[in-house]
């Protein structure tokens, strides 16, 4: 009944401005045509469709948007950006939202973030990724032991997954230092790395 009143209380104009500044996009030109949603390959697992996310950003519904699962499931395929009649880089808006949510420690789909961290950990250790390492770390983090176990026999038979990490000749320290500086700076700036 009093949706309108709630809405005005939830509106956060500073949030809209921040998303526009960080993504470099003018979200006010979105007129809800739905083209982005029509072509989105991840929409079937979204809790809010991408056009709804865009509307949420316009209206400054910060919690609604940053707590959404959708921003974690976005594939960064840029189909939405390509098909937006107003030339909004919608994928850049989605990425900005994910960055903002992460930095505030809002992680609606932890398993996705765990997967990314597992990947980046192998990069930190070896300077290059290494599939078995990423998988093992991910299984430990997510306590999901059976991920892709059905693929293992064939993947191994075909030697699809590298068993030994490929390390940068001369060492991976330079990459580890990049990661370290990134973490330290995030800490200094008071955001979650």
């Amino acid at each position: 009944m009093n949706d309108a009143i709630n809405l005005s209380r939830m509106r956060d104009a500073a949030f809209t401005a921040e998303v526009e500044a960080q993504s470099g996009q003018n979200v006010s030109t979105c007129y809800q045509c739905g083209n982005c949603t029509a072509g989105c390959p991840a929409g079937f697992v979204y809790d809010r469709q991408v056009n709804q996310i865009m509307r949420g950003v316009q209206l400054g519904l910060k919690d609604e948007v940053l707590n959404s699962r959708s921003i974690w499931m976005c594939l960064s395929c840029s189909t939405c950006s390509l098909r937006c009649p107003n030339n909004i880089d919608v994928a850049a808006v989605m990425e900005t939202l994910r960055h903002m949510a992460r930095k505030e420690g809002r992680v609606a789909v932890p398993k996705v973030e765990k997967f990314w961290f597992s990947f980046l950990d192998t990069v930190r250790a070896f300077g290059r990724t290494y599939e078995i390492g990423t998988m093992a770390l991910y299984m430990m983090r997510s306590l999901r032991l059976f991920t892709d176990l059905d693929l293992a026999p064939e993947a191994l038979k075909k030697k699809k997954l590298g068993f030994r990490p490929h390390v940068i000749p001369g060492g991976a320290d330079a990459v580890a230092r990049i990661m370290q500086r990134y973490k330290e700076r995030a800490k200094r700036e008071g955001v979650r790395p």
């Binding site: 499931m73 395929c77 390509l82 997967f115 892709d148 699809k160 000749p169 330079a174 990049i178």
Partner: protein, 297 residues
């Protein structure tokens, strides 16, 4: 012709067959690939999903190595690497962004970076269709193929410079020059589900399933790809996709370099064909059969 070369991590692991066939085809064409010394992972999707500056720093280290090697052009086989490296180079044109990235590096990155482009475009730059056709020893005549580019190779267009972002045609021109019949493939730039196969399997199963279903309906002999992750999703995960689509697929998924290599008469074992989960034997017989038929005439 010499190019600097950024293989990407997949080349050293899951897509060793892409690497092998890229090397074989380039050698056959007299294109020399000089691997960047001490290159590191571009950070792939996880780095840019986490932070744009972190992703750019991982890429800038490689671009800096390329600049110090005085490379003119760097080729990479992987569209994801290409996308990350090109995005980073573009963003580094902004001085504030560059300063933030430099803070993460041991020493500030070179002021100018060499151009980075795909192996596919590198080949096409040196060899036009006629020159490719002149290399063909075993024509792909009678072979029907679908070119599948994936979502990253051509998008966003202002960064990737790969022709029409929803209808690139470079792979078709290279493979038609090898004699293949290229079908019109409307899902050629649809997304296959990326690396979500690990955290959310239905994402890759559903999206890859659509691509395999269309290819099967079109009756092609193989889907041809340029991306290591696309290849893995369509080939290694083909059964998962079939289950999700409630269908049966038996679709070989080859790299464009493997297809070109076959046309150049390079032996399958030098192209890593044994790595395919869905065997390409029938396709090989078809190519050999066409040769025999040709000889009879």
């Amino acid at each position: 012709m010499k190019f600097a070369y950024y293989p990407g991590c997949s080349a050293k692991g899951s897509s060793a067959d892409y690497e092998k066939s890229t090397q074989a085809v380039c050698a056959a064409l007299g294109i020399h690939l000089e691997e960047l010394p001490g290159w590191n992972c571009c950070g792939s999707t996880p780095a840019h999903a986490v932070d744009t500056e972190l992703s750019a720093a991982l890429c800038a280290r490689n671009l800096d190595i390329a600049a110090r090697e005085q490379a003119e052009t760097v080729l990479t086989p992987c569209p994801s690497c290409l996308s990350n490296l090109r995005h980073a180079a573009k963003r580094m044109e902004n001085p504030q962004f560059r300063a933030r990235v430099d803070e993460l590096l041991d020493t500030p990155a070179a002021a100018h970076f060499p151009e980075v482009t795909s192996v596919m475009q590198g080949i096409a730059r040196v060899y036009d269709a006629n020159a490719i056709a002149a290399q063909v020893k075993k024509s792909l005549k009678g072979v029907r193929l679908a070119a599948y580019y994936g979502c990253l190779m051509s998008r966003p267009p202002e960064v990737m410079d790969f022709g029409d972002p929803e209808n690139p045609t470079l792979m078709e021109s290279l493979l038609s020059a090898c004699g293949a019949e290229m079908v019109d493939f409307p899902l050629k730039t649809a997304c296959c589900g990326a690396s979500f196969g690990i955290p959310e399997r239905v994402m890759t199963a559903r999206n890859s399933g659509r691509i395999l279903e269309l290819a099967t309906q079109l009756g092609v002999d193989a889907v041809v790809v340029a991306c290591p992750l696309c290849q893995m999703n369509l080939d290694l995960r083909q059964k998962q996709a079939a289950k999700e689509a409630d269908a049966f697929f038996r679709m070989p998924v080859l790299y464009f370099t493997q297809m070109m290599g076959l046309a150049f008469g390079i032996a399958p074992e030098h192209l890593g064909l044994e790595k395919l989960r869905v065997s390409a034997d029938e396709l090989l017989r078809k190519i050999d059969g066409a040769q025999a038929g040709e000889g009879d005439r």
